[in-house]
Each structure stands twice: as structure tokens, then as C-alpha cells.
């Protein structure tokens, strides 16, 4: 069983509600939109991600024989729902912001229009996919902004929340500007560049640290990156210097050394000096170990001679904001706009479009959220991507989405490009939309 593709990876109430909708003949078109209610602490913007996986999920939506049998045997559902699920396919329309688009609270990044039971049934997984990758891409982008162009590598798989989280965190961070990942499967699945060095266990398995370096170099002559903090970092750097001439004679360059503990800036300076004095000025220094965007910024500002960074757990788990306050809400049913008014959770009704306005330097100035048939001078951000259950275009290459994200990050206003919380970017709710909300409220 592959949880990533099972239609039963959903909340029970989606099935229960579908049964009730079918019983009442409520199969008119429903419009659901996915949006974020408010930014997490420490975030000034979000980067949309996860759309490809949503479209895959929708394209492949069906129940297996085993799943149908299990549902039937559970005794919870009536024959009408079971018959409906037997031939379940996604037949709806989807509009969305392309992955890599920067967005802000109250801006829908995805709209699904489908018969009510169908649009309802896909809720849980659509949220699960968009919440995760958007959160990771948004976190990763912060590291990209402060790394000063130095390559960043995702090292987070071991502490990612399960298999799919590890794989998709590699994707989302690459989309946001990381140079690659250590996760091999992300290379195979998404064509993301993969990187790797060696572990402490490799050194420990040898009785002699220098011998372990030698063995590693012989096995990977094109990619000799040696981990030098197992016992004594500077002593190990000197061992690398001693070893290098013999390797060089065999045509094996020492590409880099990795620091993984202690005061990274201090070790980097000392190691740089040892390497330089040992004629290894071409050997790079890679730093890892509990890095996040704050440490990256501090290391960057300290001028520490580090050439690239491996970022793990903090990014892969979005440790300081491990979820988004996001929602997938019914905005219209059978042509009637609707909204939720629960305390602190009110939503804007109807089908909406987001328009972005730029200043004279081509930087984002403000956005307008309005009804879909309203007019605005700005650039519309939502575009049709699926019609009647069929994708309108093939999946764009991930590199293209990564380029879009880079362009969008370059268009961010200066005041949002910092790690500290900045004054909120302006998102205007149009008077048309406000009027619609009032009309809806009077109607209930």
C-alpha cells in the first residue's frame, strides 16, 4: 500500500459528507479555494509549492478493489456512496498560482471547481500537499536570501517526517533555490542534483583517521569531501594536508572538507589557514550541523571562509513554523457565493483573482484580491491548469519553476527580504469583494 496515492488518505468526514450530499442530490458545482489565513511568526512572505503533486493526485484519483472492499466491510457507508466511489475520478477544473509564486495571506493559490461531493472528497490530501511544500519552500527561501549566493544543500531526510516529507522537502527546497539534496530518490524522481560527503561512522570504522580519508578518496576520486570533525578538527585538517600530495600524484584532488560541530566560523578560519598553508587553497570548506537561516546569516556576516552549507532538520521540518494556518474553504455552491464566519476564521466569498502591482523598479508594490469577474490593472496570478479533470499543459520542468521562484524572490520588496518580521505587504481587498461579503452576510 502506497499512502501517497491512496484515496483513503483522507479524513473520515469527507466520506460521511459525500454520502449526505449524494443522498440529498447536492451535486451542483462547488468552488473551494486554498489560502493561508495569516503568516507564521518569522515569515514575511510565502512561496507557493506543491501544485504538481496536487495535479498528480487529482489525475490519478481512484479507489482500489481492496479499498472499496474495506469500506464496504466497515459497514459505515450506504450502497449509493459505495457505488459512487467505485467509479470515482476527478472531473473538475483547477486554477492556481504557478509553483514558485510569492503570495500573502487571504490570497487563494488554488481553486477547485467540481461537483460538491468530489470537491469535498479531495480536501484533506490537497491541503496536506500544499501546506507542506509551501511551508518548506517558504522556509528554504529565507536561507537562500541570506546565503549570499553560496550553494545550499538539503541534508534533512533523516529527521523529515516520514518518507514523503523527505522526498518533497528536497523538491520544495530546490524549487526555492537550494543547489541540491543528499536524498538519492529526489535525484531519480525529480532530477534534482544530489550531493554527499561521508559520515563519522566511516572514520570510526577505521583505526586510523588518515587511512579512512585515503580509503574514501580512492573509492570516490571525483568527489573527495572529507569529514574532519570526528576527533579533532584542526588535527584532521593537517592530516588532509599531509595526505594530499600522494593523492595528487594519483590524480585525485581533495575537493573539500566538511565541518559538522563546534564553532563553525572559528574552525573554518583555522582550517582555511591550514589548508592554504598546505597548498590546498582549492579545497573547499563545507559546513553543516544544526544550521538554519539565522546561523547562515551569522556565519555569512562573520566572513567565515565557508564555501557551501548543508542545511538539515530546521529546514526539512520548518522547525520554527511547522505548519501553515491554511484552509480549503467552500466559497460558492450552485452559483451562490458563501463564506464562513466562525470567530477569527471568517473567509472572503466567491471565486477570486489576485492581481499584483509592481513599482517602477519592477518590485512588488501591492496586491489586489477581488472577484473573478472584476477588472484590475495588475498582473493576474491564478491561471487555469486543469479542465474537466485533464491537465491543460504538461508538467513544467522543475528547473523552470525554480527559475520562476528566483525571479519572484528578486522582485520582493527590500523590506521583506530580511529574517526579522517586517511590516506586512499590502494586500487590498477590493470594494467589489467587500460588497459581495456584505451581501452574503445579509443573505443568511
Amino acid at each position: 500500500m502506497n499512502p501517497s496515492t491512496s484515496a483513503l488518505l483522507t479524513d473520515l468526514y469527507e466520506l460521511t459528507m459525500a454520502q449526505a450530499y449524494l443522498q440529498q442530490g447536492m451535486e451542483e458545482p462547488a468552488v473551494f479555494e486554498f489560502f493561508v489565513r495569516k503568516l507564521p511568526a518569522h515569515r514575511n512572505f510565502l512561496v507557493a509549492a506543491g501544485l504538481e503533486q496536487v495535479l498528480d493526485f487529482l489525475s490519478q484519483l481512484h479507489l482500489s478493489e481492496q479499498e472499496l472492499t474495506w469500506l464496504e466491510q466497515s459497514g459505515r457507508f450506504n450502497p449509493a456512496l459505495l457505488r459512487y466511489l467505485q467509479t470515482l475520478r476527478f472531473t473538475g477544473d483547477v486554477e492556481a498560482m504557478p509553483e514558485g509564486t510569492i503570495f500573502f495571506p487571504h490570497e487563494p493559490i488554488l481553486r477547485i471547481v467540481a461537483p460538491l461531493p468530489l470537491a469535498q472528497l479531495v480536501e484533506t490530501r490537497v491541503m496536506n500537499l500544499l501546506n507542506f511544500q509551501t511551508m518548506i519552500a517558504s522556509k528554504a527561501a529565507r536561507s537562500v536570501l541570506v546565503a549570499g549566493g553560496k550553494p545550499l544543500i538539503d541534508f534533512g531526510l533523516r529527521r523529515a517526517h516520514g518518507a514523503e516529507a523527505g522526498l518533497l522537502a528536497a523538491r520544495a527546497s530546490y524549487l526555492a533555490g537550494f543547489a541540491g539534496t543528499a536524498t538519492v530518490l529526489a535525484g531519480m524522481e525529480f532530477g534534482i542534483p544530489i550531493y554527499g560527503t561521508m559520515a563519522h561512522s566511516f572514520v570510526q570504522a577505521h583505526t586510523d583517521e588518515a587511512r579512512s580519508f585515503e580509503h574514501f578518496a580512492q573509492a570516490q576520486p571525483d568527489n573527495v569531501v572529507l569529514l574532519i570533525d570526528t576527533y579533532d578538527t584542526e588535527a584532521a585538517a593537517r592530516k588532509v594536508v599531509t595526505l594530499a600530495p600522494a593523492l595528487k600524484a594519483k590524480g585525485i584532488p581533495v575537493k573539500g572538507v566538511r565541518l559538522d560541530s563546534g564553532d563553525l566560523a572559528d574552525h573554518a578560519r583555522k582550517v582555511r589557514r591550514i589548508l592554504d598553508e598546505g597548498s590546498l587553497s582549492q579545497t573547499q570548506i563545507i559546513a553543516s550541523g544544526n544550521l538554519d537561516e539565522y546561523r547562515l546569516q551569522a556565519l555569512s556576516e562573520s566572513g567565515a571562509p565557508i564555501d557551501s552549507f548543508a542545511v538539515g532538520t530546521a529546514m526539512t521540518t520548518s522547525a520554527d513554523a511547522p505548519s501553515l494556518d491554511c484552509a480549503y474553504k467552500l466559497q460558492e455552491y450552485a452559483g451562490r457565493p458563501c463564506r464562513k464566519r466562525s470567530e477569527g476564521k471568517a473567509t472572503w466569498p466567491g471565486r477570486k483573482q489576485v492581481y499584483r502591482h509592481y513599482d517602477q523598479d519592477a518590485r512588488c508594490e501591492y496586491d489586489v484580491v477581488t472577484t473573478i469577474d472584476d477588472r484590475d490593472e495588475g498582473t493576474p496570478l491564478l491561471h487555469p491548469v486543469m479542465k474537466g479533470g485533464r491537465r491543460l499543459n504538461p508538467a513544467p520542468p522543475l528547473t523552470e519553476l525554480r527559475q520562476l521562484a528566483a525571479t519572484q524572490l528578486a522582485q520582493l520588496p527590500h523590506q521583506l527580504r530580511v529574517l526579522e518580521t517586517a511590516p506586512a505587504y499590502e494586500v487590498r481587498i477590493s470594494s467589489t469583494l467587500q460588497t459581495l461579503a456584505q451581501t452574503v452576510d445579509r443573505g443568511v
Copy 2:
């Protein structure tokens, strides 16, 4: 492609190191242990979980044709490694603490003994599985401790980090004492009781809230739990009271109402009064909406008339501690104990056993970590579970593991059963183990 079962869901360096080990003929038995270095903030203990998934992973370990072809075409690996991977199977031994066991820092909860390249290759996924479920079970147990016996339901799938995280969070929280989950697939895969109510969209899809309640009740007569906060909570409660007699006449009881926003304690009191005065004293109140163990404790202490709680995002993401400072470290190779001495990351060498000592009330008093061949009066916590790649026993039923966790929680010292950080539980490192560490240090 199912990321949950792919052998390439691993860090590149595991493959690189395996290639070097093979090249050097380093295929002697290696001993790796998984442990947590220190407790996250806000945790007084951890609950071991994830072993079943690790044993599944090890039992099924192999590379598909597609994976082998991709590795070969990548041009990164030598023929010896590719041949080795072609017939890769797990042939090692595993000892572990049973899932549900409470444990503390520096105590290994799992040991793998296998030829070095093999024991190395499985590192990433073993860590990925144990880190996640242990983290979730440990977080969920805190809610169980403060909920005063009221049922807790996992509602977290939509903001879980991907598919597997949602599925396994349902498992880990049930193991720790939750009553069930909303995740349907967790019912099918693990036999976990599933629960569900209705969403705001169901109410909004109707033009009339009372009609939506009626429709829902007709579709699910055995499980009528109505969400009453879409517009005005108390007004909705009165609608439920008005509707109830007609439903009762049809033999449909209103089993419960759900509150999902606002001041839950205040709404619960008002709604309870409305229900009681409306002859619905049997109708239960279920609360949800950004709950975690702190809010559960506050609601519990306030005496709010809430019968059960749905806990979502905070538990599923372990929001206040979204990772564990865990490690899978080489402790012995070819009969030679070894250890890492990196700053702040030193480990205890050799194969170890953990012994638990109980006081006269059968509560945990202290633990002893010592070498495997040392003697101790306490109860040993690690047991053999796999030998030569074969499980020694069939997978225990999840209910049995859940019972073990409940017993273990009951044995927790009083001072550790609180949400605040308590003085650390005593974990003694035996003099034998300390002597071994000194011997190893002198040897390098």
C-alpha cells in the same frame, strides 16, 4: 514509485561509503545503535515508537530494476557496488525496546548488527522512521496525561508533513493512548478506530444551517455529530435542540456537537446549558481547533463540560519540538568498540543494555546503561527482534503495544507526569561502560 519502500530513500553518502567499504573489503560486523542525545525542551520522557516500520523496511529491503538502472546510468558508482546492490537483502540482527517503552537520553532503543556496508546503508531510513514516530508518540502521551481519561482523537492529517507522516502520526498517537483518528487509511492499515464529524463546508453548502444538520443526521443516523460554530455557536445549539425531537421520532439520536473556534470553555458551558435545557443531556460536546496539551490541561482544569477532544496540527507536527536530537552511531566494528568524540556529540562505545529499576510502588526509579555483557539487577529493556534478517516473532497487535505504553505511563514517576520541565530522570552510566570509553579514547 512508493517513497515509503524505496531503498533509494537514503542519503547519497550511504551509497558512497558502502562503495568504499566494499573496495577495502571492510565487511566485518558493525554495531550501530539508535539513541536520543538529549530531550527536547518541554519533554520529561520519550515513548519508543516506529520499530514495526523499521522491521518492515529491513525485511523488504531491495532495489528495483528501475532503481538499479538509474544508479548505473548516473555514472557515480563502480561495478562492485552495483553488483552488491543487485542482491541487497538485510541479513543482520536487531535488538530493540518494544514500542511503547518509555526511555531517556543516551539509552539505545535499537541496535543493528550487520556487515558494515549493510548496517551503514539502512541508516537514513531507520532514523527517519524512529525519529518521527517516537517524537509523535512522546508528544501525544503528554496530551493523554492531562486529558483526565477523556477520549482524544487525531485530526492532524491535513497539516501532517505528507502522506506517510499523516498515516504514522495516527499510529503513533493511538499507540500513546489516543482513542482513534480521523484518517481513514489508518483504520484500514492498522485497525485504528476512526472518527469523524462534519466540516463547515457542509453547513455552508446549504442555505439553511438547520437543514444542513437535518441532512447530515439522515445520512449518518448512527453517528450524528454536528458542527455548530459556522455562524453563531449558541444559536446553532438552539437549532439542534429544536431539531432533536423530530430526529428522535425517527430513532436518530444527536450523539454530539462539535465546537471548533472561539473560547471553547465558555462556548462549552453555554452550549451544555442549552442542550441540557433542551432535553439533550446525552448529547456530547466535542472540542477541536488548535488544541495541544497545554490547552487541554487548561480546559480540563477549567472544568469545561467537554466530553472529548480532537487534536490536530500541534500533535501531528510535534509543533513545539518537530525533531529529536537523535543519532544512529557506529559503536563497534569487527569486535573493536568505537566512539565519536566531536564537540558536544560524544557517544558511549560498544554494545549496550539498559536496565530499569523500580521503587516499591512499581514506579521507575532510575535506569542503568552498561555494556551488554555486564550484570545488573534491573529489568533489561532491549530484546532481540530480528536474527539473520528474519523476525523472531510476528508483529504484535497494535492494541498490545498500546497497552504496554499505558502500563509504562502508569509507572512514570509523578514528577515526570507534568507538562513543565522536571528535574531529569536518573540514567546511570555504569562504571564498566565509563571504563570502556576511557580505553577506547586511549586507543585512538
